[in-house]
Amino acid sequence: METIVFSLLNGVIYGLLLFMLSSGLTLIFSMMGVLNFAHASFYMLGAYFAYSIMGVTNFWIALIFAPVLVGLVGAAVEKWGLRRVHANGHVAELLFTFGLAYLIDEVVKILWGRNAVDYRVPEILDFPLFELFGAQYPAYRVFILLVSVAMLAALWFILNRTRAGLIIQAALTHPHMVGHLGHNVPRIFMTVFGVGCALAGLAGVIGGNYLVTDPAMAVQMGPIVFVVVVVGGLGSLTGAFLAAMLLGLMQTFAVGIDASFADMFGWLGLSATSEVGSITIASLAPMIPFLMLVLILMIRPRGLMGDREL
């Protein structure tokens, strides 16, 4: 029972964090056709910006300004970098973001050093909120939950209930038509890229102190984010949400389950001492995202909710 409750809570939080990260990537991809390899780097920038801003002011100011700053960096990258490269086709764009990811990595190492920085949970949120089956549940986790849900609601509202959202949705599928109607499509692209990066930055701000803020965080998060986007279906926010939750839950549940292959397939005559039988479900947890990626591409190449083939 306690395993289920905890896995559920942790899985949902991890899933929401993943969604926050991948929502920006999905938006950018569906609009511009650019698979942004540097996306996880913006997540890292968010965490480092928040750490620096927190050093001189406090967490709440960092929570607002760090994502804005990351968004501005993203918009600048789009305006002065990607837009020029765009003329040379998708491969050039892909390579551009690939190089950018390494560039940001190195810049972060130069500015903040190669080691983890002491980016802490704010004191006001650093207390156990409740105790469940003997384990404390940190208040900060619930805070992550709240921020993620708020972001989710805001994103949904903007995209579905405002005029700006309408134009963005239109530009996703028919950029030329939107341009002919008199909208400044490059500016829409820049805004979307900026907002996408800002979302990754926000994930960095609240995820950086929940996990660890070090120069390796982008490299570690990068592949998982791609899995979410591909499994969810390229360009589908709903799909990304489903995939993120699925991934978060499956990973935490797998860790929580105390069983081995022998327990599951014992009826087939698999013994617990054999090589295969002694593999535990928990040890498979980190493999799950990539297993999902491979399976989805084989069975349903457009992803859970995607509307186009990869």
């Binding site: 080691n115 105790e131 384990a135 929940y210 070090d214 929580g256 493999m287």
Partner: protein
């Protein structure tokens, strides 16, 4: 045309001769210098450079300066072999590596093979941190010297500590899923059964190396198992994240670590870990020692303000190499290897011996405690590691017999 050719040949030979005459003795440092374990490897590299500078200041190795050449292996055994070949091609005869027993295992095999095929061109492997017991037991090699106490030796310090505490009845073992983590788990289970058969192992878990971002699910399993003590061999990011999750979830049981002093761990642990996290190591920053050692620590931390003095064994390795070269009267790896066998050194933390039978270092170990009341802190946290004499375990007590049957070359 012929003239040009021979001129080119002469020039090439001239270059080759220059390379071979080598004004320095080079040690290839093959360890991760990027990625999740990059900071750990980088810290080791800095200590090697510092130790080499010390030897050079005292006149070098038989009058020749030492030079440490970094090679990034990304903790991958495959990549390490590529880097090892690069080092050999550059004429480097000494290899230093520590992070990852999987890597060390591959290097030992490659070094054995190389030395068999290239008599007269042997290379030596100085292992400063890879602690799979096999390397000085069934897999022992004449060309490998280990300057860190291996898993079972460190575990005997940890299990002694647990055996002395009657209130500990349930122990949870968690580690990284590769040869090292498995060795830790086996040593813990085996030794606890021997020393305190009443202790129940309530969990024995392996997680993937360097891939887990949030250890909370693992910690919650530990909490619901009612463990009274946790043993972990984790290092690098895995250590930092594990302890961080433990503290956030309010795990109260003491955590016995091999590498609690890993770079970044102190920062992540903070005040909450004081008195709870322990480390088994050959070096404790706040343990009383000689003035010379304090001067060395201060000099290191002044030279590399980003790092704390941590790998004391690196100095042992470099000084053993230097003294063995002096004893052998040459910088040839074979002579040095013979000279190093059985060599002893009165270090600032007790006597250090290189056991001749298996090339395993024997040294005193400490079970140190993370404390707020320290003179020397780590990572500017105001917190650091202390140990009392009671927490010191003599080298003789940590030294298990070896099963090594070493194949020695003829002199």
């Amino acid at each position: 045309m012929k003239l040009v050719k021979s001129a080119a040949l002469a020039a090439a030979m001239g270059f080759a001769a220059m390379g071979a005459s080598a004004e320095t003795v080079k040690i290839a440092f093959i360890d991760p210098l990027s990625g999740p374990f990059g900071p750990t490897g980088d810290a080791g590299f800095k200590q090697f450079k510092h130790a080499a500078a010390e030897v050079n200041a005292a006149g070098g190795m038989n009058g020749v300066d030492l030079e440490i050449v970094p090679f990034d292996n990304k903790v991958s055994p495959k990549e390490s072999l590529v880097q090892l070949q690069k080092a050999i091609d550059r004429g480097i005869r000494f290899i230093a590596q520590g992070n990852g027993s999987s890597v060390a295992s591959a290097i030992i095999d490659a070094v054995n093979k190389h030395n068999k095929r290239n008599p007269g061109d042997e290379i030596l492997f100085l292992n400063y941190a890879a602690v799979d017991p096999a390397f000085t037991n069934e897999k022992c090699s004449f060309w490998h010297f280990r300057f860190d106490s291996h898993v079972a030796m460190k575990m005997s310090a940890a299990t002694d500590w647990i055996a002395d505490r009657d209130e500990i009845e349930k122990v949870y073992v968690i580690g990284q899923d590769y040869s090292f983590g498995k060795a830790v788990a086996d040593a813990a289970v085996g030794q606890l059964a021997e020393k305190r058969s009443d202790i129940e192992i309530v969990g024995n878990e392996l997680h993937p190396l360097g891939r887990v971002k949030d250890f909370t699910p693992y910690i919650q399993k530990i909490i619901s198992s009612d463990a009274d003590a946790v043993i972990t061999g984790n290092w690098g990011a895995d250590m930092v994240l594990l302890v961080k999750a433990a503290i956030d979830s309010g795990l109260e049981a003491p955590i016995l670590t091999y590498y609690g002093g890993s770079l970044g761990a102190a920062t992540a642990m903070g005040e909450a870990a004081v008195g709870q996290v322990r480390q088994i190591s050959e070096f404790v920053e706040n343990y009383p020692t000689t003035d010379a050692q304090i001067a060395r620590i201060e000099d290191f931390e002044e030279t590399y303000p980003e790092n704390d003095y941590y790998f004391h064994r690196v100095y042992n390795a470099v000084h053993f190499l230097d003294r063995a070269a002096e004893k052998a009267g040459s910088n040839d790896p074979v002579g040095i290897a013979f000279a190093m066998e059985g060599m002893t050194h009165d270090g600032p933390y007790g006597k250090v011996t290189m056991r001749a039978e298996d090339h395993q270092v024997l040294q005193d170990l400490f079970v140190s405690t993370f404390s707020a009341d320290v003179k020397r802190d780590v990572e500017d946290t105001g917190l650091g590691w202390t140990a009392t004499d009671a927490a010191r375990i003599a080298a003789s007590e940590t030294a298990p017999p070896t099963t090594c049957e070493m194949d020695r070359p003829s002199r």
